[in-house]
């Protein structure tokens, strides 16, 4: 659970839930918007991770 990916996913869940509730009023819209936000966070995290992979850090 305390892996980098696991914590990133947990962080994304919290942020997606709060933003979806803030920005949409209907539960169905909140669910859909939150799911898209969560998928976007995970996809962006994995993409940026791979982009950083060749860097000598």
């Amino acid at each position: 659970m305390t892996s980098h990916l696991g914590l990133m996913a947990l962080f994304s869940v919290f942020v997606s839930v709060v933003f979806a509730s803030l920005m949409r009023d209907e539960p169905h819209d909140q669910l859909w918007f939150g799911a898209k936000l969560f998928a976007g966070f995970i996809a962006a995290g994995v993409l940026i991770g791979w982009l950083l992979y060749p860097l000598p850090l």
Binding site: T2, L7, F11, F14, V17, V18, S21, L22, D25, P27
Partner: protein
């Protein structure tokens, strides 16, 4: 036609009181404004996020602005955004932070972002109280 949640807001609701309550207890401002679903969501999500930050051995940054460490002061302001849970954690001796813990920085991120998100929730409650939403 079914009344929307915005129609149910009492125009006499004091927006300053709503903002203060919304800051003190995450989601309480929306509960006061009869936005129950949002209020409960914020209460659970933000409190749990802050608690996760403490569980991950993050630090609750101390108040008091030290010019030599401006980022610590800004982190303290962000932490304070969560409201009463900040003081409860301090009172119970949590949030000392263990710098050598592998999850220390993650914990800080969770606690700081929970506070910042609650500030956004306060602004949203203010807008609802003003009748803008």
């Amino acid at each position: 036609m079914r009344a929307t949640a915005a129609d149910q807001v009492d125009p006499a609701t004091n927006k300053y009181l709503v903002a203060a309550i919304a800051w003190a207890i995450p989601g309480a401002g929306h509960l006061l404004l009869r936005r129950r679903q949002k209020g409960v969501t914020f209460l659970i999500a933000l409190t749990l996020m802050f608690a996760t930050g403490l569980w991950l051995e993050g630090r609750i940054f101390p108040l008091g602005f030290d010019l030599s460490q401006p980022l610590v002061g800004l982190a303290a302001i962000a932490d304070l955004g969560i409201g009463i849970p900040y003081f409860i954690a301090k009172f119970m001796g949590h949030g000392a932070g263990r710098v050598v813990a592998i999850t220390y920085e993650y914990g800080n991120a969770f606690a700081i972002v929970a506070g910042l998100l609650n500030m956004l929730v306060v602004l949203d409650a203010w807008d609802v109280a003003e009748g803008r939403k």
